[in-house]
C-alpha cells in the first residue's frame, strides 16, 4: 500500500513539475493567465526596443493600399482615357486579384530558409511604389494588366510577412497592441488614399495619370523610410526565448546551435503541417467565411451608396474615410483590452472576435435597411470598427500557436482562404443583387457573417491545447538537445503521445513507442488496434494530429515519407507489397529507386536478393501479380536487402502463408536483424512474433496497453485473452 502511495506521489510530483513548466512556458509566450496589460513604454525600454519596426511596417502597409484604392476611385477616368470597357477593367482586376491570392505563398517560401523577411518587405514596398508610379504611364490594356498583376504579386509580402515580422520584433506582452497599431496604420491608409487622390485631383488639378505619379512618388519616399528595418529572426521573443530558458534551466549553459541539427521541413511539408493544427483548420474555414463577407462588402457598399443615397465619388470617398477613421479609433481602444484578454486566455480573444463579427454583420444589415442616411453612417461606422478589431485579434491568436519559422506560411495560408472566400462572395452577392436589389444583397451578408463568427468562436476551445502542443514540442526538442549535449542515450526511434485520425475517426490515442539500435520488437494487438497505422506514422505515410516521431533524436514527425527512406527507415507494407504489373526484377529495381543512378549497386543488391531467396531467381521474369503469397512477401522483404535500412518496419509478414514459407521468411528477418538493422514486426500471430523478439508492445483500441519483455506479455491474460491466449501460451511452453 505504501509503495502504491509512493508511486502516486511520484506521479503527482511529475504532473506538478510538468504543469509548472507549462505555466512558465505560457508566460514566456505572453499568456500569463492574468488580465493585465503592462504599459508599452517600459516593455520596449526593458528590451531596448523602439517603435521603428511598427512604424516602418505600418507605413509600408499604409502605402501598399495606394494603388488599389486609387485605381478603385479613378476607374471611370482610366477606362475613358484608355478606351476600355468596364468589363475589360474588371477582367484585369480579376487577374490582379488572383496574383494577390497566390503571391503570399512564394513570399513565405522566399523567407523560409534565411532571415530576410525585412529585406523582402523593403524591396516589395519599393516595388509596389514604383508600380503605382508606373500606372500613370500605362497606355494599353496589356500594360494595365501587367502593372496590376505586378502590384498584386508585390503586395503578397504584406499578407505573408508583415504580421510575423512584427510579432518577432516585439515581446509577446505587447503583441495585440502592436498588431492593433499596425492595423490602425493600414486603416489610416484607407483614409489617406482617397484623401490624397482628392487632393491631387482637386487643388493640384492632376489627371488620373498625375494622381498615380504623385501617389507613386509619395509611396516611394515613404517606403524608403523603412530601409532601416531588420529581421530579428523567427521567435526571438517567444519560441526561441522558450528554448533558451529551458536549455539554461536544464544545463546552466546558454543555448548553442543545437536546434540547427533538427531536420528541416520543406515548403509543402510546412504547409501540410500547419493545416494539421486544429485551430488553424478551424480559423481557415472561418477566414473563408470572412472572405465571403468582407471583400464583397467593400465592393458593394460603394454601389449601395450610389444607388440608395445618390452619393457621387466625392461624398463616397468622404463616407469611406469616415468609417475608416472610426475603425482607427476602435483599434486604439481595442489594443490594451485585447492584450488583457490574450494574456488571460487566447481563447477569450477568439470568443470576442466571433461575437464582434456577428455584431458587425448585424450592423451591416441594419445600415443597409436604415431609413435615414445618418443611421446608415452610424451603423456602417460601427460595423467597420468591429471588423477592424478582428485583424489583430485573429492574427495574434493564429501566430501565437505557431512555431515562429512557420508564421509567414500560416499568414499566407489563411490569407489565401480569405481570398478564395471573397471570390465566392462576389459571385453570391452579384446573384442576390440581381434578384432583390443592392440593399437586400448587403443585408444578406449577415448570413456568412454569423456563420464565420460562430466558426471563429468555436476555435476558442482548440487554441489552448494547440498552445500547449507547441510548448510540448519546444520543451521536448530542448530535452532531447540537452540529452544529446550530455552524451546521454537516445533511442533510435521514439514516438511520444501520438494521436492519429482518419478524417473524424481517431484511431491512435497518446501512443508512446520506442525502438533501440539493432533491436527487434513485436507490435501486437487485435485487428483494428492501430498497429499498421502506427507503422504508417513512423514511415511517414500517415501524419499524426498530435505527438512526435523522432529518429536518432531528430524530429521527423512531418517529414515526407520519401525523405525518411534516405534516413534509413523502410517499411514492408502488409498484404501484397509488390507492383503486380511489373516482373520480379523490375520490382526489385523499383525498390532501388532511392539509390539513384548507382546501377552497379542496384544490380549487386538484386543478386543479393536472389542469393537470399533462390526461388525469386527462378521466377525473375514472372509478373509479381502471378507470384504466390509467399513469393510476394519474399519480393517485399527484398526491399530491406536492397535499401539496407537502419529501421525496418514489417507489417503482417505471415498473414495467409504456409508455415514452411513463414519459417523461411522469419529466418531472413533474423538475418537482416543480425546485420544491425532494427526491426519492428507487426503481427497478429503471437507465437510467431514472440518466437523472434525479446521486447513486445501490445495495442488495443488505439492505445498502447503493454510495453515490456515478451515473456511478461505472456503472463498478461487480461490482454491476450481476446485473441491469442491459448495458441500463444502453448507455443511458448
Amino acid at each position: 500500500m505504501t509503495a502504491v502511495l509512493d508511486g502516486a506521489s511520484v506521479l503527482d510530483a511529475d504532473a506538478a513539475t510538468k504543469a509548472a513548466r507549462h505555466a512558465a512556458a505560457r508566460a514566456t509566450l505572453g499568456v500569463s493567465g492574468t488580465a493585465d496589460s503592462p504599459p508599452l513604454r517600459p516593455i520596449l525600454k526593458e528590451h531596448g526596443l523602439t517603435a521603428y519596426p511598427l512604424v516602418a511596417l505600418g507605413l509600408l502597409g499604409l502605402v501598399d493600399l495606394f494603388q488599389t484604392e486609387a485605381f478603385t476611385i479613378l476607374t471611370p477616368e482610366v477606362s475613358r482615357a484608355l478606351g476600355l470597357s468596364l468589363g475589360a477593367i474588371a477582367g484585369a482586376r480579376t487577374l490582379a486579384f488572383l496574383a494577390i491570392i497566390l503571391a503570399p505563398l512564394p513570399m513565405a517560401r522566399l523567407a523560409q530558409s534565411r532571415g530576410r523577411r525585412a529585406l523582402i518587405c523593403i524591396v516589395t514596398g519599393i516595388a509596389w511604389s514604383v508600380i503605382t508610379l508606373f500606372t500613370g504611364f500605362v497606355t494599353s490594356l496589356l500594360a494595365l494588366i501587367a502593372v496590376l498583376v505586378l502590384d498584386g504579386i508585390s503586395t503578397g509580402s504584406a499578407t505573408a510577412l508583415h504580421a510575423p515580422l512584427l510579432v518577432d520584433s516585439y515581446p509577446p506582452q505587447a503583441r495585440v497592441r502592436v498588431l492593433s497599431g499596425y492595423t490602425a496604420m493600414k486603416a489610416a491608409g484607407l483614409v489617406a488614399a482617397p484623401t490624397l487622390v482628392a487632393l491631387l485631383a482637386g487643388p493640384f488639378d492632376l489627371t488620373w495619370r498625375g494622381v498615380f505619379v504623385g501617389l507613386g512618388l509619395f509611396s516611394t519616399g515613404t517606403s524608403l523610410l523603412a530601409l532601416g528595418l531588420k529581421d530579428p529572426g523567427p521567435g526571438r521573443f517567444d519560441t526561441e526565448a522558450l528554448r533558451a530558458e529551458e536549455h539554461e534551466q536544464l544545463t546552466g549553459e546558454h543555448l548553442e546551435a543545437l536546434s540547427a541539427a533538427q531536420v528541416e521541413l520543406g515548403f509543402f511539408e510546412i504547409l501540410r503541417r500547419i493545416l494539421l493544427i486544429p485551430t488553424v483548420k478551424r480559423l481557415a474555414v472561418g477566414y473563408t467565411a470572412i472572405g465571403v463577407l468582407l471583400v464583397p462588402f467593400g465592393i458593394f457598399l460603394s454601389t449601395f451608396l450610389d444607388q440608395r443615397w445618390n452619393l457621387g465619388p466625392g461624398p463616397r470617398g468622404a463616407f469611406f474615410a469616415g468609417i475608416q477613421a472610426a475603425s482607427v479609433l476602435a483599434l486604439v481602444l481595442f489594443g490594451s483590452r485585447g492584450e488583457k484578454m490574450f494574456r488571460l486566455d487566447p481563447g477569450r480573444v477568439l470568443v470576442f472576435c466571433g461575437w464582434a463579427l456577428v455584431a458587425a454583420v448585424t450592423c451591416v444589415a441594419a445600415g443597409a435597411l436604415a431609413p435615414f442616411f445618418v443611421l446608415t453612417c452610424v451603423f456602417f461606422g460601427l460595423a467597420q470598427s468591429l471588423i477592424a478589431v478582428l485583424t489583430p485579434g485573429l492574427t495574434a491568436s493564429l501566430l501565437s500557436i505557431m512555431d515562429a519559422r512557420y508564421r509567414p506560411h500560416a499568414a499566407a495560408v489563411v490569407g489565401m482562404f480569405a481570398a478564395g472566400g471573397s471570390i465566392l462572395g462576389v459571385l453570391l452577392l452579384t446573384g442576390i443583387d440581381r434578384r432583390i436589389g443592392i440593399s437586400g444583397a448587403l443585408a444578406s451578408l449577415a448570413v456568412p457573417g454569423v456563420v464565420a463568427g460562430l466558426i471563429i468562436r468555436s476555435a476558442a476551445k482548440l487554441i489552448g491545447p494547440d498552445l500547449d502542443r507547441m510548448i510540448d514540442e519546444v520543451l521536448e526538442s530542448e530535452d532531447i538537445a540537452v540529452i544529446k549535449a550530455r552524451g546521454g542515450h537516445l533511442p533510435m526511434l521514439s514516438c511520444q503521445g501520438v494521436d492519429f485520425s482518419y478524417g473524424q475517426l481517431q484511431v491512435l490515442f497518446d501512443v508512446d513507442f520506442t525502438v533501440d539500435d539493432g533491436e527487434m520488437v513485436a507490435l501486437l494487438g487485435t485487428n483494428g488496434a492501430g498497429k499498421s497505422t502506427l507503422l504508417k506514422v513512423v514511415s511517414g505515410i500517415g501524419l499524426p494530429s498530435r505527438g512526435s516521431v523522432r529518429f536518432r533524436g531528430e524530429d521527423i514527425t512531418y517529414l515526407d515519407a520519401e525523405r525518411r527512406v534516405p534516413l534509413g527507415i523502410t517499411q514492408v507494407p502488409g498484404g501484397r507489397a509488390v507492383f503486380g504489373s511489373l516482373d520480379v526484377v523490375e520490382n526489385l529495381r523499383a525498390f532501388g529507386y532511392s539509390l539513384g543512378r548507382d546501377r552497379k549497386r542496384i544490380e549487386e543488391s538484386i543478386e543479393l536478393c536472389f542469393e537470399a531467396f533462390p526461388r525469386l531467381k527462378e521466377r525473375r521474369t514472372s509478373l509479381a501479380a502471378n507470384l504466390s503469397g509467399g513469393e510476394q512477401q519474399m519480393v517485399g522483404l527484398s526491399k530491406a536487402l536492397i535499401l539496407q535500412p537502419q529501421l525496418l518496419l514489417i507489417d503482417e509478414l505471415s498473414l495467409g502463408l504456409a508455415p514452411v514459407i513463414v519459417g523461411q521468411l522469419l529466418e531472413m528477418v533474423r538475418r537482416i536483424n543480425a546485420g544491425g538493422t532494427a526491426v519492428v514486426l507487426v503481427e497478429q500471430s503471437v507465437n510467431i512474433a514472440l518466437s523472434l523478439v525479446d521486447h513486445a508492445y501490445f495495442m488495443e483500441k488505439g492505445e498502447m496497453r503493454f510495453d515490456g519483455p515478451a515473456q511478461q506479455l505472456l503472463e498478461r491474460d487480461d490482454l491476450l485473452r481476446a485473441v491469442f491466449l491459448e495458441g500463444a501460451s502453448k507455443a511458448q511452453s
Binding site: 475613358r80 497606355t139 505586378l150 489627371t207
Partner: protein
C-alpha cells in the same frame, strides 16, 4: 527550374508594363481649354440635341494638312471612346476590312454612322442617339470631344467628357 520560370515570367510582365508605358504625349495635368455649354452633366435631354462648347487657345481651321498642335478640328465621339493618342480618323474603321480597302474611307457619312462627328464649329446637333443597352430607367449616354490636327491625327490625351441621359425608347 520552377524558380527560373517564375523569374522569366516576372521579367516578361515587367517588359510588357514598361513597353506599354509611354511618357511622351501623356497628360498629367487637367486641360481646361474646353468647357461644355450644353447639355448639362447628367441631365435628361430631348431630341434634337445640341452639344456646344467654348474653346480657348485652339484654332479650328479644318483639315489643312498642318501638324500644328494649336490648330485643326474638333472630333465628337458619341457613346464611344476616342481614338488613341497619335492615331488619325482611319482608326475608326481599323477593324472594318471593307473600309481598310477603300482609300476614301472613312468619309463623313461613315464616321457619322459610327457616332463620330468632325467639325470646326463649337457645336453639333444630333437628331438621334445611338441605341442604348437594355435596362430600366433613363438611357445613359455621353460624348467625348477631342482635338485633331490638320492631318486628322489626335493631339495629346486631352478629351472632354460629358454624360447625359435621355428618355428610354421602347425596344420594339
Amino acid at each position: 527550374m520552377r524558380l527560373r520560370t517564375a523569374r522569366a515570367g516576372l521579367a516578361v510582365l515587367c517588359l510588357v508594363a514598361a513597353a506599354g508605358c509611354q511618357a511622351g504625349q501623356l497628360q498629367f495635368k487637367n486641360d481646361h481649354r474646353l468647357s461644355f455649354v450644353s447639355p448639362q452633366a447628367r441631365h435628361r435631354v430631348t431630341m434634337p440635341l445640341t452639344i456646344s462648347w467654348t474653346m480657348k487657345d485652339f484654332d479650328a481651321v479644318g483639315l489643312d494638312g498642318s501638324r500644328d498642335k494649336g490648330r485643326g478640328v474638333f472630333a465628337v465621339f458619341v457613346d464611344r471612346a476616342p481614338m488613341p493618342v497619335g492615331k488619325d480618323l482611319r482608326w475608326v474603321g481599323h477593324k472594318d476590312t471593307s473600309c481598310k480597302r477603300d482609300p476614301r474611307c472613312p468619309d463623313a457619312k461613315y464616321l457619322a454612322d459610327r457616332g463620330v462627328l468632325v467639325t470646326t464649329e463649337t457645336s453639333v446637333t444630333l437628331d438621334v442617339l445611338p441605341s442604348a443597352p437594355d435596362g430600366a430607367g433613363d438611357e445613359q449616354h455621353y460624348v467625348n470631344v477631342v482635338l485633331l490636327d490638320g492631318t486628322g491625327h489626335r493631339i495629346g490625351e486631352s478629351a472632354w467628357y460629358r454624360p447625359f441621359t435621355s428618355k428610354r425608347r421602347s425596344s420594339s
